[in-house]
């Protein structure tokens, strides 16, 4: 895959309000500088459902998503309305393969603390930040101690409102390093 032609694929699990995907698309393009396209890669996540918890285990979804990623997809982001978990934690807002290809965000808890319906600016802002945050992990970015950086891990969803839409300068440099590394790897890979 030539990184110049590579895109980040946004994959809605269920039918999702176009305003939400548009918000995510703009945020991703601005933060990472790659083009995006929408494609529904995994639409049935029943296999990850845990009946006891009434939630979906995000890790196997990521594996399936990575397998379904098309050739031109540098990274894949799934967006779902369902509530996600990993076994050790009660819930997660999203999950990513660190340095991998796939990540997922859930809109399920994004409305916490907001009184209005899920298309308010605050809600859209949270979704955009969570999407960029999870995608950041796929570019090997870790949680950042700078509270204004989008890679900062917020303990509560309401704290997300306080961080900016942008990466701090350290994370920008590390993102740049990783993008360069991906480019070098692609150049060294056999073509054909």
């Amino acid at each position: 895959m030539d990184p110049a032609d590579a895109v980040i694929v946004i994959s809605p699990v269920e039918e999702i309000d176009p305003e939400l995907t548009e918000t995510v698309r703009r945020a991703i393009e601005e933060a990472f500088g790659f083009g995006t396209r929408e494609a529904s890669l995994v639409t049935d996540i029943g296999f990850a459902h845990d009946a006891n918890r009434g939630q979906y285990h995000s890790t196997p979804i990521l594996e399936k998503l990575a397998d379904a990623a098309p050739g031109d997809a540098l990274k894949v982001l799934a967006v779902t309305r369902e509530d996600l978990f990993i076994p050790i934690l009660t819930h997660v807002y999203g999950e990513a393969q660190l340095g991998g290809r796939a990540c997922i965000v859930s809109t399920n808890r994004l409305g916490e603390g907001l009184s209005a319906a899920p298309t308010t600016t605050a809600y859209l802002d949270r979704l955009a930040k969570e999407a960029v945050h999870e995608l950041g992990h796929t570019f090997k970015l870790l949680h950042c101690k700078d509270k204004t950086c989008i890679m900062h891990y917020c303990r509560k969803i309401t704290d997300v409102d306080r961080k900016s839409n942008d990466l701090c300068r350290y994370c920008k440099i590390m993102l740049g390093d990783e993008v360069k590394r991906i480019g070098r790897e692609a150049a060294a890979a056999p073509h054909g």
């Binding site: 990993i86 076994p87 050790i88 934690l89 949680h143 891990y153 303990r155 509560k156």
Partner: protein
């Protein structure tokens, strides 16, 4: 680097994996094992800051793991992971020294807060140690000593590279005198009239590092009551010595690279660009090539630092210098303690020559200091040395240096009930070195 090392001990694969993934995204270095037995095995080779241990496991229970870990290294913080039914065991674990317990599945906030609290507490302890060490370092300055061919080559090299203003990277094991070599380069350079400013990157807690290096403006953070010059400014016109450079965080690596490239920096909270003119000498006992491959050290920073490099030889490779060094330390400590000790008995010197000195010159210095303090005769006797004390010695199977080192380490561990922190202090090596020695010699606690 600069991150917390965490070991997860849980017999459920899915729990181990999900917890590890979560912690890795927080920037921690995480290892995971499936049993208590495997955990103890892992602890023999690596030192962890935090252990997350499931209470209920097949084979060795979490409580047993806790007890064994605390016996060996009371400073490790152990957090027990438990299910609803095991709360009484968690309370017992707290009585046995566990830091806290978490009920699974836990809320992400709860886990984050707990880890943060432990990291802050450990950083505070590190800061206290740093302040103590700083005091100790101020009182102990030695010049480089050595007549061996190996050291002569080092001296020649220093003479050659000192006049140029090039950045130098000094490698070598702990205690080999990398700091002294850096001072020698400075003293022989055109910057000798300027300051020599050192900073131990491994000893300074992350939260202090930025302000130590770059300085800060009044009001930049809660404790910034006054403007403070950082080491970069203090080194203006002289030499900046970055000791244990392999330990700095990725963020600090980015900042440092920028300073080395542009020679311009900002104080924390400052908006005015500052310029300083200094030569950089860095030192490390880490394998930076490996750190680069593992993604822990920036390649561009490495090339900036590694313009010229040389390695300080370990003491075991220049044993002919031991008598000279030992006599030097003897004179100094005799003066300091006001004891008239004339010299070192031949048998004691033989034993010093046979020993491998894993802690290098620093260990030799400590050994002589102890001998001067405890010695009753006019010459240092073998019994005065902490290396060999017949009454506690395990049998030596051969006279090879390795065997002697093995026995010495085993003796120190036995004398100190396998308390790793205490034993490492006595041996004057860091705990990770002691762990690797234990693994190398397959030392086992008996009785």
């Amino acid at each position: 680097m600069g991150s917390t090392k965490i070991l997860i001990v849980d017999d459920e694969l899915i729990m181990r994996e999900s917890l590890a993934g979560w912690l890795e995204r927080d920037g921690h270095q995480v290892d995971k094992v499936a049993s208590g037995e495997a955990a103890l095995e892992k602890l023999r080779e690596t030192r962890y800051d935090i252990l997350l241990v499931d209470i209920k496991m097949e084979g060795m229970s979490g409580l047993e793991v806790l007890k064994k870990v605390k016996e060996n290294d009371p400073e490790v913080d152990v957090v027990m992971i438990t299910a609803y039914g095991s709360i009484p065991s968690s309370i017992e674990a707290m009585k046995n020294g566990a830091y806290d317990y978490l009920l699974k599945p836990f809320d992400p906030n709860e886990l984050g807060v707990l880890i943060e609290k432990i990291v802050e507490r450990q950083a505070q302890a590190k800061e206290n140690l740093y302040l103590k060490q700083q005091h100790k370092e101020r009182t102990r300055f030695e010049s480089m000593i050595g007549q061996s061919a190996t050291m002569q080559r080092v001296f020649d090299f220093i003479q050659d590279v000192a006049p140029a203003d090039t950045t130098i990277l000094i490698t070598g094991e702990t205690g080999t005198g990398k700091g002294l070599a850096a001072k020698a380069i400075h003293s022989n350079s055109p910057r000798r009239e300027g300051p020599f400013v050192g900073i131990n990157c491994g000893a300074i807690p992350e939260h202090l590092m930025e302000s130590e290096l770059f300085g800060h403006q009044k009001g930049a953070f809660t404790d910034a009551k006054e403007n403070k010059k950082g080491r970069l400014e203090l080194a203006h016109g002289g030499t900046l010595f970055l000791d244990e450079i392999g330990e700095i965080t990725m963020r600090m690596q980015i900042d440092l690279l920028r300073v080395l490239e542009d020679r311009v920096f900002y104080r924390v909270g400052g908006t005015q660009p500052m310029e300083a003119d200094f030569r950089v000498i860095a030192a490390t006992n880490r394998d930076l090539d490996k750190a680069i491959k593992e993604g822990h050290f920036r390649e561009d920073l490495f090339y900036r630092l590694n313009v010229i490099s040389f390695a300080m030889p370990p003491l075991r490779e220049r044993k002919e210098d031991i008598p000279l060094l030992a006599e030097h330390f003897l004179r100094r400590f005799s003066q300091e303690t006001n004891k008239s000790i004339e010299g070192i008995d031949r048998e004691a010197m033989d034993e010093m020559m046979m020993y491998e000195w894993p802690g290098n010159i620093r260990e030799l210095e400590n050994a002589v200091e102890r001998a001067v303090v405890v010695g009753k005769s006019t010459k240092i006797q073998p019994a005065d040395l902490p290396i060999f004390r017949p009454e506690v010695c395990a049998p030596v199977k051969s006279n090879s240096l390795k065997e002697i080192e093995r026995v010495h380490i085993l003796n120190v561990l036995t004398e100190n009930d396998w308390n790793i922190a205490r034993s490492a202090k006595i041996l004057d090596i860091d705990r990770s070195t002691l762990y690797s020695k234990i693994r190398k010699y397959d030392l086992q606690k008996t009785g």
